[in-house]
């Protein structure tokens, strides 16, 4: 199946000399929720801005549903809705006027019924005649979402959607994202909150210093997360692991001083008690033990630091 978005060898340098993107390769599949995770300044917004046509690409190719973003910009852009990170608003316009404007701008004929439903879903209908500067921050963010969805896009970009957003709006937003996904809309969100990626995404990509350093199914990532390690510091160095303990798939450190047991923390039966008993039976004593779990955060921090 044709990917919703295909990015090949995309680079971007700003006039300041800053290399924002260094050869990004990324395919976003139709209908998935993709979370782009990365620290501030990693290139998330630049990447989104290029796909949406707000920033000129440096080198490389980007296509949206098979349409090149430069050669077929009309077809490419018509498919995309963008909710930017900042609250950019026409302060003196009414909610209704600004949403109607957005729909027209993206080449769609008037459809008051659709816009009414959209505003109702976002709890904005009561405020449709209000001018935007009268609204609260959360309401303004809802207006941005309404604008992005006003032309019924197939692909929705949410740039840091929950930055500075209260709990209620956050919950509404996730509900809306799930609803959109059910209708087949592809969603790309950027965030630096790991829980957000964990909660929503089908796949997670990590970007750091302008490079994609990991793209993984969330399930696979979570599987890695579920693993725990028990580290035993031995009294005396061990030459080799007794064959009777093969079932535990233990790892022995090079100097023979440490034994590492990896187990699934999600399971009822972790096997730790038996292992310790077995070790005693084989005369392997330990002076200390520690268990650790790698969180997505650890993986993330290690990845990012590894590149630093």
């Amino acid at each position: 199946m044709q990917p919703a978005i295909s990015i090949q060898q995309l680079t971007k340098s700003y006039a300041s000399g800053h290399h924002a993107l260094k050869g990004i390769d990324l395919d976003i599949q139709k209908g998935e929720i993709f979370a782009l995770l990365g620290p501030n300044g990693a290139g998330k917004t630049t990447l989104i801005s290029i796909v949406c046509g707000i920033v000129n690409p440096g080198g490389g190719k980007v296509s949206v549903d098979g349409h090149d973003i430069l050669d077929d910009y009309r077809l490419a852009r018509a498919k995309i809705g963008l909710v930017p990170q900042e609250l950019f608003n026409d302060a003196f316009e009414s909610v209704w006027a600004t949403v109607k404007f957005s729909r027209g701008l993206f080449g769609k004929g008037p459809n008051p019924a659709y816009l009414e439903k959209l505003l109702r879903d976002l709890s904005l209908w009561e405020k449709r005649e209000a001018r935007i500067f009268e609204l609260s921050g959360g309401m303004k963010r809802r207006v941005m979402i309404a604008k992005a969805l006003s032309h019924e896009p197939d692909i929705l970009f949410l740039d840091e959607p929950t930055a500075g957003v209260d709990v209620e709006l956050r919950r509404d937003m996730w509900e809306m994202v799930r609803g959109l996904r059910e209708r087949g809309v592809t969603i790309i969100l950027t965030t630096h909150y790991i829980e957000e990626a964990e909660e929503m995404a089908d796949r997670i990509g990590v970007i750091s210093k302008g490079e994609i350093i990991l793209v993984e199914d969330k399930a696979v990532l979570m599987d890695k997360l579920g693993k725990k390690q028990l580290r035993l510091i031995l009294q005396r160095p061990l030459q080799s692991i007794p064959p009777a303990l093969d079932a535990y798939a233990l790892e022995l450190s090079a100097d023979g001083n440490e034994l590492v047991y990896t187990f699934d923390a999600q399971r009822q039966h972790t096997g730790i008690a038996e292992l310790l008993r077995h070790l005693g039976e084989h005369g392997i004593d330990f002076k200390d033990l520690q268990s650790s779990q790698s969180s997505l955060e650890d993986i993330f921090v290690n990845l990012v630091r590894g590149r630093a």
Partner: protein, 253 residues
């Protein structure tokens, strides 16, 4: 063509005019009326005729042009500067529209507003002075052409400006002097010979001269030359605008 987009921009911009009706229409009408009271009625009554036209009537085309030029430039400049300043330009840049369509929307709205304003000022002038329009169709053509050309020029100013001050500088420091020195209040044949030559470098001279010809059938410069110069300026502005969009000058990094 994305007609819905052109319409959306055009109506959105005109809606701003209706919302700010006082500033948009009343301000220029009042200031033009003041010119008529001071130069037309008070001073004009003791002035000699120019080209056989009463002084008060003589200055009508120039005053309409003065308002038309300044309003076209400031409307169009504000229209595109505002979204740049507030950040809402992101939406226009990400929309499936060509630069041509963007220009038609913004410049079309600014020019429409200026033409309406020009006609209102003429009606206002009629309250103070009696005048006939000899070539009404040519007058309309020049009115629209000038409004479009200078709205386009204002659009360039709006993209170029990176602060509110710059937005004011061009109309205040360039256009108003050029209009005053362009023969709004006198015929360039009244100038010393050297200045008659120098003044031909002022593009506004051609506009005012041609516009006055539409009213009274007399002009400082041949009308065909005026038309040619206006079209030349229009072409120049178009070229700059398309260069700006092509390179993303001050719009896209």
């Amino acid at each position: 063509m994305n007609f819905y987009a052109i319409r959306a921009i055009y109506l959105f911009e005109l809606a701003r005019t209706w919302r700010t009706l006082m500033q948009s229409i009343a301000t220029p009408v009042i200031s033009t009326s003041l010119y008529f009271v001071v130069f037309g009625s008070a001073i004009g009554s003791s002035m000699v005729q120019i080209h056989g036209i009463d002084y008060a009537a003589f200055i009508v085309p120039g005053l309409v042009m003065l308002a038309l030029l300044t309003e076209s430039i400031s409307n169009a400049a504000f229209g595109i500067y505002m979204p740049k300043y507030s950040g809402t330009i992101y939406e226009v840049l990400s929309a499936p529209i060509s630069s041509f369509e963007i220009v038609v929307g913004y410049v079309g709205a600014a020019a429409t507003k200026s033409v309406i304003l020009g006609l209102i000022i003429m009606l206002t002038a009629r309250l103070f002075v009696t005048f006939e329009i000899e070539h009404p169709l040519w007058m309309l053509l020049f009115l629209v052409l000038t409004a479009v050309t200078f709205s386009l020029f204002g659009f360039i100013v709006g993209i170029w400006a990176d602060g509110w001050e710059k937005l004011q500088i061009v109309p205040a420091l360039i256009v108003t002097p050029l209009t005053f020195l362009g023969g709004s209040f006198y015929s360039i044949s009244m100038l010393p010979p050297v200045w008659q030559k120098i003044t031909l470098f002022n593009p506004v001279v051609y506009l005012i001269s041609a516009f006055r010809w539409c009213f009274y059938g007399v002009s400082d410069v041949n009308v065909a030359v005026s038309l040619g110069m206006t079209l030349l300026f229009l072409g120049g502005c178009l070229a700059i605008v398309f260069w700006m969009f092509k390179t993303g000058y001050r719009l896209k990094s």
